[in-house]
């Protein structure tokens, strides 16, 4: 009796998930397939999912528009920004987490507590003074304007520190007896052991940086220097209702994070649980 009921609820669940999954995946598929349709087909026909005639003209048009929408340039700008920011975050967050979690120094817990308490602070308040600081440094319109401010978050340190807590202190102590200094212990013993959490931090930093919209649209005035995410906004004004080209640029923009996710799915899911687990 219970078993039948169980199977019944499994079937209901499957049907519900299937219908919802259609709602979630169809917009993606429709966008991707439309980027391979001719403008005529998009404009006149009904709502067929697959193109009747597959064309790559939208891709050629979008990729070769070097005059007012240099999408390859924007793509490379984004790649540079996201990569450098990820490396910077990994270095400064892991070394800080190492000190806060495994070294003893005056004021350690106090400084860490102050850092943690700023996590609640709404960053919208920072926008205007941050812009002023960057303009004093002459960083406006340069990649540094998004790379550095985006790398100072404290949540990453918190995550890494939590992870480090599971590594026994005996590892450090025996290395110290063998004559290793703090730097050697950090590089040779701790860093290899915390690779899983560093992977998670790297993935979330990269996607977060790639998808950042508001801040880059404030600090870049020069079209050439823009990263891709805020630059997509310009396509709207340029291509108006040319949905072949608009969907094409959207597809190009989602490729990197999509590829990253396909190869590292498990880390994304673990990362979410890690952050909700420690915060919730």
């Amino acid at each position: 009796m219970i078993k039948i009921k169980k199977n019944g609820s499994k079937i209901t669940a499957f049907i519900f998930l299937f219908v919802m999954a259609l709602f979630w995946i169809l917009p993606v598929l429709y966008t991707v397939f439309s980027s391979f349709k001719t403008t005529t087909e998009i404009n006149i026909s009904g709502y067929k999912l697959l193109p009747t005639q597959w064309v790559v003209s939208n891709y050629i048009n979008v990729l070769t528009n070097f005059n007012n929408a240099p999408i390859i340039r924007w793509f490379l700008n984004s790649l540079l920004i996201s990569t450098v920011q990820t490396i910077l975050v990994i270095i400064i967050s892991s070394s800080a987490a190492y000190a806060y979690s495994r070294l003893k120094f005056k004021g350690r817990d106090f400084v860490f507590w102050i850092l943690m308490s700023t996590m609640m602070f709404p960053s919208v308040v920072n926008l205007i003074p941050l812009y002023k600081i960057l303009s004093i440094l002459n960083w406006i319109d340069t990649p540094l304007a998004v790379i550095v401010p985006g790398a100072v978050g404290v949540f990453n340190i918190f995550l890494i520190k939590q992870f480090m807590a599971s590594i026994p202190m005996e590892f450090d102590e025996s290395a110290r007896i063998d004559g290793a200094n703090n730097f050697q212990i950090y590089v040779k013993i701790i860093l290899p052991l915390i690779r899983p959490v560093l992977t998670i931090v790297a993935l979330f930093t990269f996607t977060g940086s790639w998808n950042d919209f508001l801040w880059p649209s404030i600090v870049f005035n020069n079209i050439e220097s823009l990263p891709l995410t805020p630059a997509l906004q310009l396509f709207q004004g340029m291509y108006l209702v040319d949905y072949g080209r608009l969907t094409t640029s959207a597809v190009i923009a989602i490729i990197p994070t999509l590829v990253l996710y396909l190869f590292t799915q498990k880390y994304f899911l673990e990362g979410l649980n890690l952050s909700s687990g420690v915060k919730g």
């Binding site: 993606v28 003893k104 308040v125 703090n182 969907t247 649980n273 919730g280």
Partner: protein, 289 residues
């Protein structure tokens, strides 16, 4: 001083110095500037509470109008979208928790949109919702102007937001549900409890911490709404989707002279809403203890 005593500071210094310059100082000055008249270029001039008085109660000022429209629309959007951003992923997670076929694929599909930037999401959905060329209208056989007539614009923006946002919440609920012991459900079944009773008596109480957590982070995320109305409806029709962040950006970094003091006061007001929501989490957690 021997070597040992200062090396720890070298490990925290790179982050701490950058943090102070690019977070600490802007945070303090963001509040200070809201009490000044400033155009970003010159020297700020102290004006006390004048900016707040202007946006909160001087109905002859354009900034009063902008602030009121902006905060109203921001709060409205939050009110519309947050319930769906909690309930939809919760239902999905419950369904996935039955360990039905294709669980992994379903999970990936629902998580997928969270990987996309808001600008690519709007380019795609702008097409889907387009009045003349969009498949949604063609399928429904009508010509609704989703981007230009209310309530359709809000409906479209909420649909897009829910589609884009819920993946993370769903994964969090899935992990929480996996931790609820199955015998609790089996015991309830023997007592004759139905699916709905079980949901409210067992499921919800067991994952209430995760619900509180997601409720807080989701509300904060939605209070920061910016990209959707900016790109989907340009704040329209008739400013009905003009949100506060749009006015803050326009006032501080718009084409004319910057009115940074007023913009900062608006930002502080939005920040207060965010802090209020964030502090609710502590209330929830204390309740648990």
């Amino acid at each position: 001083m021997d070597k040992k005593s200062y090396t720890p500071y070298m490990f925290i210094a790179p982050h701490l110095i950058l943090f102070i310059i690019f977070f600490g100082i802007p945070a303090v000055f963001g509040i200070v500037i809201s009490f000044t008249k400033w155009n970003i270029l010159g020297t700020p001039e102290w004006v006390g509470l004048k900016n707040y008085a202007e946006i909160l109660s001087d109905s002859s000022s354009t900034f009063y109008t902008q602030f009121h429209i902006g905060i109203k629309n921001t709060l409205l959007f939050t009110l519309f979208s947050v319930p769906f951003c909690i309930i939809v992923p919760l239902l999905l997670a419950c369904a996935l928790n039955t360990k039905t076929k294709g669980q992994k694929i379903f999970q990936s599909i629902f998580y997928l949109p969270t990987l996309f930037s808001i600008s690519s999401v709007i380019l795609a959905w702008g097409f889907l919702f387009n009045k003349n060329f969009g498949p949604i209208n063609r399928m429904l056989g009508n010509s609704i102007n989703w981007g230009g007539i209310q309530p359709y614009t809000w409906i479209a923006i909420v649909i897009i937001t829910v589609w884009w946002y819920i993946g993370g919440n769903m994964v969090i609920y899935q992990a929480a549900l996996a931790g609820v012991p199955i015998d609790m459900y089996e015991a309830a079944s023997l007592d004759g409890a139905g699916a709905i009773t079980k949901f409210f008596k067992i499921t919800l109480p067991s994952i209430k911490n995760q619900i509180a957590y997601t409720l807080v982070i989701t509300t904060i995320a939605q209070l920061n709404i910016y990209g959707q109305p900016l790109m989907f409806s340009k704040g329209g029709p008739a400013n009905s989707t003009s949100v506060l962040l749009m006015y803050i950006k326009q006032t501080a970094f718009g084409s004319g002279e910057s009115i940074a003091g007023i913009a900062s006061a608006m930002a502080v007001m939005l920040g207060l809403c965010i802090i209020f929501v964030a502090s609710l989490q502590f209330y929830f957690l204390r309740e648990k203890a």
